[in-house]
Subunit: 239 residues, 2 copies
DNA sequence: GCGCTTCTTTGTCCCAGCGCAACGTTGCGG
DNA sequence: CCGCAACGTTGCGCTGGGACAAAGAAGCGC
């Protein structure tokens, strides 16, 4: 793990920000203050580890801004991205899974702002804040759903379909509308895409090139813009 | 879904049975009575559907005996087994995932005895029974862990390793020690194995044949006995 | 016992996609 | 402006394992 998060005051954190975070969206002013007062805020550059698989789950986190990849490392050292987590979500919520170690490693995929609280506060948050528990269930439920989908994909779909699906998921989660399409608004390499889809960098690169020739996407290093999402959907369903 | 479960008295259900079920293991006699009184018991033959993906999650279930496959069906009609659930576990606990429909279909893989309760009771169980909530978190956590593992497997491992892994998981969950090895004590076809590992019936069959020739396993239709688990472990790690 | 169905085995063919390898491209720091 | 590192592209050959096919084995009902 990296250096310990530094406790800071949170002048730059607009309280209204928390209102957009589902677990806390219904809190009143005083409660928001209480949540923020107990939080530690930290900025991570891209590529830094927030917590490591297997480490004692001492804190839980909320991603205020940026993107996080949840990865697991195989015995042979390969990385596989299990999930992408967009801003506004909780992570490292081992407690909601009845665990006391983190089940995977979280790595920032872009510069990110992360709040964290001691895991000790988990239970009191659940008790004190209405809807906190049910929102975390939903978070867990969504992630289970996503993982489920990925298992299905991996089991039944061809590489091309999987990559198309991954792209679609990414633009759904983090797409930003631009003039002529939807852009994924965080840096993503071919390598990342291949880890997400369980293929190789080479194949992912080939596919993107092919799609670019067909005018489906446009991409420059670490940037991917989808021009024709519908065609991707068609691809993802199998020709 | 099948016919509605039939409400029955539970003469044949030894109360002590419930003590082996984690979520209720710490209850006293009166509480166990209360839990049982509110349960519906039902026997399912192998291959029957307990609940369907997408259906309203009206009940939650506990598998007293038998074996259940949690499957998802792809748009093209293929079945993929997402999880195997052994006796003693809860299933259909959509509520713990903040959902009100079942996220997958549950099908019995062997004759099974299933208790169920109206989902309405979920909240009161959580409130009334100490440890119920935390045990369900653990159940969810374990399943998330398993799914995670399967994603890693599918992304990084060869078919042979995946099948070996699947077998190992099965003997861990439901292995029964016999004279010269460990037998999986419910009927499993090559087809099942292939669905679990995202390969084809044919390949699974070939692999088992090869292993049988090497003396690693012994199998007769729907029965698989592992003679040399260690060799399988070696295989599963990739030569 | 006889036929039917379900499950399993085995062989042959063939191609998607991985491994390898070499070469472009972009951006950054000095 | 240059060199280097990170990122991306492309060609080629090889092979794991999927598709197809056909036939054996076990169980089941009549």
């Amino acid at each position: 793990m990296n250096e310990q998060p530094v406790r800071k005051t949170l002048p730059q954190l607009d309280e209204s920000l928390l209102k957009h975070l589902p677990p806390f969206s219904k809190l009143d002013r005083r409660q928001i203050r209480a949540v923020l007062d107990q939080a530690t805020s930290r900025r991570y550059e891209a590529g830094r580890t927030i917590f490591d698989e297997g480490a004692e789950a001492g804190r839980f986190f909320m991603l205020l801004d940026g993107y996080v990849r949840v990865v697991r490392v195989t015995p042979t050292g390969e990385q596989v991205t299990a999930l992408h987590i967009p801003a506004g979500q909780l992570l490292g919520i081992a407690r909601a899974l009845g665990r006391d170690t983190y089940p995977a490693t979280a790595i920032t995929a872009a510069e990110s702002i992360v709040l964290s609280w001691p895991m000790l506060l988990w239970d009191s948050f659940v008790a004190d804040y209405d809807g906190f528990a049910s929102e975390t269930y939903k978070t867990v439920g969504n992630r289970v759903g996503e993982m489920n989908d990925r298992i299905i994909e991996m089991a039944t779909q061809q590489v091309e379909q999987r990559v198309a699906n991954a792209l679609l998921r990414l633009i759904n989660q983090t797409g930003r509308k631009v003039a002529d399409g939807i852009e994924i608004d965080f840096p993503i390499t071919r390598q990342d895409l291949s880890e997400l889809t369980g293929t190789t960098l080479h194949t992912a690169s080939r596919l993107l090139s092919a799609w670019e020739k067909q005018g489906l996407v446009e991409s420059h290093r670490k940037r991917i813009k989808v021009l024709n999402p519908h065609a991707l959907v068609v691809l993802s369903q199998g020709h």
